[in-house]
Amino acid sequence: MSLPFIVFFICALFAVVGAVVLILAREPIHSALALIQVMLSLAVLYLLLGAEFIAAVQVIVYAGAIMVLFVFVIMLLNMRVEERTNFSKLAYVGVVAAFALLLWTAHWLAHSPAGRVVGTGAGSAGAFDTVELSKQLFRPYLFPFEATSILILIAILGAMVLARKEE
């Protein structure tokens, strides 16, 4: 067992456990923490895959900003244990279906013949070059980039309009 494998398994375990906890936890804040755990372990996996920049952004934006917002809102609304109503029997069907899809996909990927997913595994060729990434971002993907900035602006305005107390 070499280092990448160990790291992968640890992180994968953490991620899955986090996701399960997210589902089982009864208090929203616990779900949030579980989700943060998932995100952090994913960040490590990104590092393992050599995507340093993405890993950092993942931590900064997801764990450091978005989830903080979630926690903040949870605190603000002081949410405690969520009540257990059950009006939708159909949900269970959905869950079964989801699990079917999940297992089937995993099975399909696991038994995928060599070459379905081409290329080398993680940790082989060194890290992605952040400079190259930025070039990609600002030359071929410039328009989508600007579009997202517009989107952000709109989101800001929308959030302000929503959260404003109407007097």
Binding site: I29, E52, A56, V59, G64, A65, V71
Partner: protein
């Protein structure tokens, strides 16, 4: 045993981490001492004086006191998170320091690993921000898990405040990044080598003075210090988010706060003040001996003090200090050693300067009101930082515009 021989990098890292932890912990303790002393003198008091000479053993006493206090956990609290919060806070604060280069990479182990930095990664700054951005959780979770009114409000306030000021903090730094155009700390520092007009150091603080001010302001807010210490505003909410905490958990929050102070000071030093670079041209050979000389002078003063004022046990303690100072000074006067410690010396000097400014502000400034805090952060600080960024970017591309 052969595992060690197989992984020299691992071993070196472990050793470095251990040393760094020890140093930083001690530093934390004595920063508290420093703060109390300085504020005392600002308020024309003596400050800690009785535990050890000039209260030098006060931090130790505090630590012991925290250790032996009873650890109270409110029954209604959310136990898991309640325990988790202080660990989150402190561990994040300490992890951040692992990225700080205290000296030039030129000083390295035989296996080529730098001595003065634990992990020298290409996008260090991003990672530092990643870690500090997580710092909110300690405070917020603490406030929430105590399940009591004041802590909750304190946690809310501090998380809101941290989110708000993190924006300005990051943006004020981007200007420097444009100048340095790397994310690696050593790279940024190397970029500040050299002089304008042969005597003004090429530090980023000169072109980025506005950015520097924004950074310092935002940093103070990030670390919840006066005048931005709303989360623990005694007069409004007893002790803010750590009202319910006691004993060593409280101590951890305490240490985390000071560790954060040190981290942001280090960052300021690296980004704006040329890190471990000396302010003087290399041609001035005598600067090699500045550290040694300083220590020797300190030793001399201590000796004088020992003889004139100290009495009883304090005199013995102070004699030890004197010996240490003189010995260290003598050691530093050896050229080889002098060359080695140049970087760390200047780095520490600059950090101390910034810390002093921190404490100074605490001693002088009153506290903001909450709405003032928010409006200041969003309506003044952020626009200024943005303007600074835009102007910098514009100046950067001017040559391109001219030469196509």
């Amino acid at each position: 045993m052969e595992f060690i021989s197989q992984h020299p990098i691992l071993v070196a890292s472990v050793v470095k981490i251990a040393v760094l932890l020890f140093v930083v912990m001690t530093a934390l303790a004595y920063v508290t001492w420093l703060e109390r002393k300085v504020i005392a003198h600002i308020q024309s008091r003596w400050g800690p004086y009785y535990v050890g000479a000039h209260g030098l053993l006060q931090p130790l006493a505090d630590g012991l006191k925290f250790l032996f206090k009873e650890d109270v956990t409110p029954p209604v609290s959310d136990r898991l998170i309640y325990t988790l919060a202080p660990f989150v806070a402190l561990s994040l604060a300490l992890t951040a320091i692992a990225l700080i280069p205290f000296g030039p990479p030129s000083v390295h182990f035989p296996n080529g690993q730098s001595v003065f930095i634990v992990s020298d990664i290409s996008i260090g700054l991003l990672f530092l921000f990643a870690i500090t951005s997580m710092g909110v959780y300690g405070v917020a979770l603490a406030g929430w898990s105590s399940n009591s009114k004041y802590p909750l409000m304190g946690g809310l306030r501090s998380s809101a405040q941290m989110i708000s000021y993190e924006v300005s903090l990051t943006i004020s730094v981007v200007g420097v990044l444009l100048l340095a155009n790397t994310l690696n700390f050593n790279g940024i520092i190397e970029g500040q080598r050299g002089y304008w007009l042969h005597f003004i150091p090429r530090w980023h603080v000169v072109p980025q003075i506005i950015g520097f001010m924004c950074y310092i302001t935002a940093a103070i807010a990030e670390t919840n210090r006066i005048p931005f210490d709303l989360p623990e505003a005694e007069t409004e909410l007893v002790a803010g988010f750590h009202t319910e905490y006691s004993s060593f958990k409280f101590a951890m929050f305490f240490m985390a706060e000071y560790a954060n102070m040190i981290t942001v000071s280090c960052l300021a030093t690296i980004l704006f003040l040329g890190g471990w670079l000396s302010p003087f041209p290399d041609s001035w050979a005598w600067q090699l001996y500045l550290p040694g000389a300083g220590l020797v002078l300190l030793g001399a003063y201590c000796a004088y003090d020992t003889v004139m004022h100290m009495r009883g046990i304090a005199r013995i303690q102070f004699a030890v200090v004197t010996v240490l100072a003189l010995g260290g000074g003598a050691l530093c006067l050896i050229p080889a050693v002098a060359v080695l410690i140049q970087g760390p010396f200047w780095f520490t000097a600059k950090i101390l300067a910034i810390l002093f400014v921190y404490i100074w502000m605490r001693g002088t400034l009153p506290r903001f009101r909450y709405d003032q805090l928010m409006s200041f952060g969003w309506k003044l600080l952020l626009p200024v930082a943005l303007a600074n960024l835009v102007i910098t970017a514009f100046v950067m591309i001017l040559p391109l515009l001219r030469h196509g």
